[in-house]
Each structure stands twice: as structure tokens, then as C-alpha cells.
Amino acid sequence: MQFSIAISGFVALYIFMLAAFAGWVIIGHVPAILHTPLMSGSNFVHGIVVVGGIFALLNASTILEQGIGFFAVLLGAGNAAGGFAVTHRMLAMFQPSEHKPAHAKHGHHKASHSGKA
């Protein structure tokens, strides 16, 4: 059994093409109301770069490589942790009206907000 991965030439291009298409389609359906959390959420997703940083650091054999590798993990971890923290905070704030189906649009809100809301 062999689990090591070798990606080259057209295989890489296929992966890039399909991933780009997926990203395009997924984002195309996001309502404008979520643009800021989405930007920060996609910002979080490229925090996966920290994994590459760990790989580079573990394979470092000189002081210079260790230094830069440390830097890579430091920055990548910041990207991932910070991106998650702010995105999670923002998304937790989006709440629907009480006693009201979430998707009701253009409705009048008089009845549901009987005085206190």
C-alpha cells in the first residue's frame, strides 16, 4: 500500500480548476448581508497555510530555515485562530426575530412584536 501523494502536471491543474469552480459557485449564493463574515470566513480558510508551515519547519535543517519556518507557523496560526475568532463572533450575532419564521420576507412586524420584542 502506498499513501504518499504525488500531484503533478494536469492533475494539479484539474484540482485547481475544480476547487476554483467550487469556490465561485459557493460564494455566488451568499447574500450581501453576509459579505463581511464571508470575507473573514474565507480568510480563515486560507489559514490552512499553517499546516504547510508546520511541514516546512519540521523539515528545516539550518538556523535560517528554522527561523523562517517558525515565522511561517507563527503567522499561519495567527491567520487561522484570528480568522476563526472574528468570524465566529460575527456570525453568532445574526439572530432572527422572535416568534417569527426566519424566511418571512416583506412581512409586517406589528403583530409579532406586541410591545416588548
Binding site: 469556490g23 449564493h29 463574515p37 470575507m39 486560507h46 490552512i48 508546520i54
Partner: protein, 483 residues
């Protein structure tokens, strides 16, 4: 043999992570499922990071003696980098969100650049393709790092004015060509085995220096109002850089996550630019504000100030109100007061909706977040295309701290720099109240004809203070009625 099991686990977790990222982003596309979406993506990140320590079982011979030190360094870097960013992300004010995203994004770009640097200094890339991809990823990552830092400085007010010099574009172009030239030379020297004119490490330093300088030079002349679009571009850049370095490291999770973000970021950039009626080219390579010195169209009418309390009472007896919030509201920290006022109106039977322009705030969608933070339910918040036709049937449009996004000149005045930008039709409402600090112009520096309209009254003052007065006036009515 020893390496097969770790390899399998890494492969399986990376596959899982790639799936969870895309599924998470998909769930983020609706307010109902969005909070779970980020959790899903978060789980993917966590397992991928934990599994990445299994690389320790499969490292090169030259790195073996350093393994313990490197493991320690990795854990320290994770704890410090992750901890500081987590802490700052938890406490940052929602109004400072664009700056914060810019910094996190720059960090990602820097990490991608640093990975490329390790590969280059260690001469680890084999083959022209790998080397070229490493260098391109390094270039994009470095530009994203330095550009994001300039964007942060501009949004945070550290750099106040766009820096523009004569011949700037030619100079930037020159720096870009030099960077690419050095990169090409590195490939040539490595492949041909020729002795470089200057030592290899210095060439690499020169390459990164030029790339970083290019990011700074490219961002400096762009005005603060365009920074959100710039951050969005750099977000896409970082994604692209991560994807390319993922190819170099032969890690499909990085390739997929990076490219998904690269494409998503590019689409988001185009959507934002469209909402601002600008092309991305126009934002990057022309200087906004140069054309604003045109003569203003003749504006008839006068500014008619009214008291905050009177405006508040008028809205209390209206049947429908649409609120157009702008960044001025956030500057005055008036969102909580605004929602308090809205709840009073709703209690009195007034139908209240929020109309949010795509570029309200310093970042598209930021106003939605600021309203959500104040507790406004998302089903009261409407986007431009969903609500614009409703203004004509609405009793009152209350414009708070917004200006350019309700300027009718965008519809009519061909000479105006914002001509063609989609605006909220607040001027079509039967009555318009505009809450404003003073008689100043908007971010784009253009006079607003809406303020001079017959149906418009100005309420001068700090948004929070004005709303407090409105709340008091309406409450006083209530107690009188009860007594």
C-alpha cells in the same frame, strides 16, 4: 513501513479538512446555518493542524537531528501566534473589523511567502515547474503581506492620505518587472548551474525585498474608501499563494482550500466593485477623487433643520419607516440607541425596516454586522434590490450617518464621480429625515441634492445624541397617553 500509517492518517485528515472547508463555506451562505458553518470549518482546521504533526515521522535525513527542536518551535509558534490572534479577535470592536481582517490576511500571505522562502533557501524544489510555482506563490504572498499591512494602516488612520507621486505607475511597473526578472534569474541559475552574479541567498533576499516593496507601492496611492475592495483582492491573493505553495508541498488540502478562497475572493471583489460602480482596474490604477472638482449641478431649495424630538414624534405616528444606516451611525456608536428607538416605534404599531447599501460601512456587509451586534434581527434588514421599490410607498425614510449612498446625483448627474452607482431611493419616500453631524460632504466629497429636497428635513447632531432625544420624545408621549 513506519511511515505508512502516519501518511494514511495525514491523507485522510487532509481529505476530511478539504471537505469540511467547502461544506462550512456552503453553510455560511445563509444566516440560518452560518454559525454552524464556521464551526464545521473550524473542526476541519483543528484536525488538519493536529494531523500535521505526524509529518515528524516522514522527514528528510538532514532534518532528523533537529526534529525535537523543530517540534518545540512549532508548538511555541502555534501557541503564541494562535493565542495572540485569538485574543485580539475576541476583543476587537466590530467597527475595526476591516483592519483586523486585513492583518489576519497579511499573516496568511506572509506564511505562504515564508514557506516559499524555506523551500528556496533549502533548495528543495525539484524541477522548473516547482521552482517557478514556488516563486510565483512567494511573490503573491509577499505582495499580500505588505499590501495588507498598508491597507491596515490606512483603515486604522495611521496613514491618513493616499500617497501619490508623478510617474508612480511607471515606477511600480518597473519594480514589478525587476521582481519578475530576479525570479526568472533564480530559475535560470538553479537550472543551468551557472554561477550567479551575486550569491544565491542574496538573490532570494532581493526577490522578497522587491516583492514586498511592490505590495507597498501598489497600495499606497489607493484611497481609504477603496480599501475594502483592496483587502478583498489581497484575500484572494493569499488564497492563491496558499494554493500554489500547497502544490509545491504536494498537499492537496492547501491546494483546494487556497484555490477555493482565491476564486471566492475574486468573485467577492467583483461583486463589491460592482456595488460601488467601479471596475477593479479603475480602483487599482486610477486615483479616486481626481475628477471630483467638476462644477456642481445647480441645486434648488435649502437645508431645513428640525428638532430631533419633533422628528421622533412624527415617526411615531407614521405607519411605515425605512431606516438607512451609514458609517456615521457606527462612528457615533449609535446602533444600540437606534434599535431601542425602533422597538419603541414597533410597539406603537409602526412597520420598521432597515435598508442597507452594499457598501455601507468600511467594508461590504459591515453595516449588517454592526446592526446584528446591536440585536437587530436579520429579517428586518433588507438589501438594496429587495427594498428600493418600497421607498415610494413609505411614510418616512430616516437616513442616519449615510450620504453618498442616498445621493440622487448618482442617477441623474453624468458629471458626478458617483454617477451610475446604485443608490437607495430614500428621496422617493413621502418624508425624509437626515441625521448628520454637520453640513459637511460625504466620503466622496460631493454635495447631496437629497438634503435640499422639499420632502427632506435635516436633524443636526451626533447620531447617538439625536436618537436619545427621539427616544425621550416618544417615551414622553407614551406616559402622557397613559396618564
Amino acid at each position: 513501513m513506519l511511515t505508512i500509517i502516519p501518511q494514511f492518517i495525514i491523507g485522510a485528515t487532509d481529505l476530511t479538512a478539504a471537505f469540511l472547508f467547502m461544506y462550512g463555506l456552503k453553510r455560511m451562505s445563509s444566516p440560518v446555518t452560518a454559525p454552524s458553518g464556521i464551526m464545521v470549518a473550524g473542526v476541519g482546521m483543528l484536525v488538519a493542524v493536529l494531523a500535521s504533526f505526524l509529518y515528524a515521522f516522514d522527514i528528510g535525513a538532514s532534518a532528523k537531528p533537529h526534529l525535537l527542536v523543530n517540534l518545540g518551535l512549532a508548538i511555541i509558534a502555534l501557541v503564541i501566534g494562535g493565542g495572540v490572534a485569538w485574543w485580539s479577535g475576541k476583543k476587537v470592536a466590530m467597527t475595526s473589523m476591516p483592519q483586523m481582517v486585513a492583518i489576519y490576511n497579511g499573516m496568511g500571505g506572509g506564511a505562504a511567502g515564508a514557506i516559499a522562502a524555506v523551500e528556496l533557501f533549502g533548495n528543495k524544489a525539484d524541477g522548473v515547474t516547482q521552482l517557478a510555482v514556488t516563486l510565483i506563490g512567494a511573490l503573491i504572498g509577499a505582495v499580500s503581506l505588505s499590501g495588507s499591512l498598508i491597507a491596515w494602516a490606512k483603515l486604522d488612520g495611521v496613514i491618513k492620505k493616499p500617497l501619490r507621486i508623478r510617474g508612480q505607475q511607471a515606477f511600480n511597473g518597473l519594480v514589478a518587472i525587476v521582481t519578475l526578472g530576479v525570479g526568472g534569474y533564480i530559475v535560470f541559475v538553479t537550472r543551468s548551474g551557472a554561477t550567479p552574479l551575486i550569491p544565491m541567498p542574496d538573490l532570494i533576499y532581493l526577490f522578497f525585498g522587491c516583492a514586498l516593496a511592490f505590495g507597498v507601492l501598489m497600495t499606497l496611492p489607493i484611497g481609504g474608501a477603496d480599501m475594502p475592495v483592496v483587502i478583498s483582492i489581497y484575500n484572494a491573493f493569499t488564497g492563491l499563494a496558499v494554493g500554489l505553495e500547497g502544490f509545491v508541498l504536494q498537499n492537496p488540502a492547501l491546494m483546494i482550500a487556497g484555490m477555493v478562497v482565491g476564486a471566492a475572493g475574486m468573485l467577492l471583489t467583483l461583486l463589491m466593485a460592482k456595488a460601488m460602480n467601479r471596475s477593479v482596474n479603475n480602483i487599482l490604477f486610477t486615483n479616486f477623487g481626481v475628477a471630483t472638482k467638476h462644477k456642481q449641478g445647480d441645486i434648488k431649495g435649502s437645508l431645513k433643520p428640525v428638532e430631533a424630538g419633533d422628528a421622533g414624534i412624527f415617526m411615531r405616528y407614521a405607519s411605515s419607516v425605512i431606516i438607512v444606516p451609514g458609517y456615521g451611525l457606527a462612528v457615533a456608536q449609535g446602533q444600540q440607541k437606534l434599535y431601542e428607538f425602533v422597538k419603541l416605534l414597533q410597539a406603537a404599531g409602526v412597520s420598521v425596516k432597515f435598508a442597507v447599501h452594499p457598501v455601507a460601512g468600511r467594508m461590504p456587509g459591515q453595516m449588517d454586522v454592526l446592526l446584528a451586534e446591536a440585536g437587530v434581527p436579520y429579517d428586518l434588514i433588507f438589501q438594496l434590490e429587495d427594498i428600493n421599490d418600497d421607498f415610494a410607498n413609505t411614510d418616512v425614510a430616516l437616513v442616519i450617518g449615510a450620504n453618498d449612498v442616498v445621493n440622487p446625483a448618482a442617477r441623474t448627474d453624468k458629471a458626478s464621480p458617483i454617477f451610475g452607482m446604485p443608490i437607495l431611493n430614500a428621496d422617493k419616500a413621502k418624508k425624509v429625515y437626515v441625521v448628520k453631524r454637520g453640513q459637511g460632504k460625504g466620503y466622496a466629497g460631493i454635495v447631496n441634492a437629497l438634503f435640499y429636497g422639499d420632502n427632506c428635513n435635516m436633524v443636526y447632531g451626533d447620531a447617538a445624541a439625536v436618537l436619545t432625544k427621539m427616544i425621550e420624545a416618544v417615551r414622553a408621549l407614551g406616559t402622557k397617553a397613559a396618564a
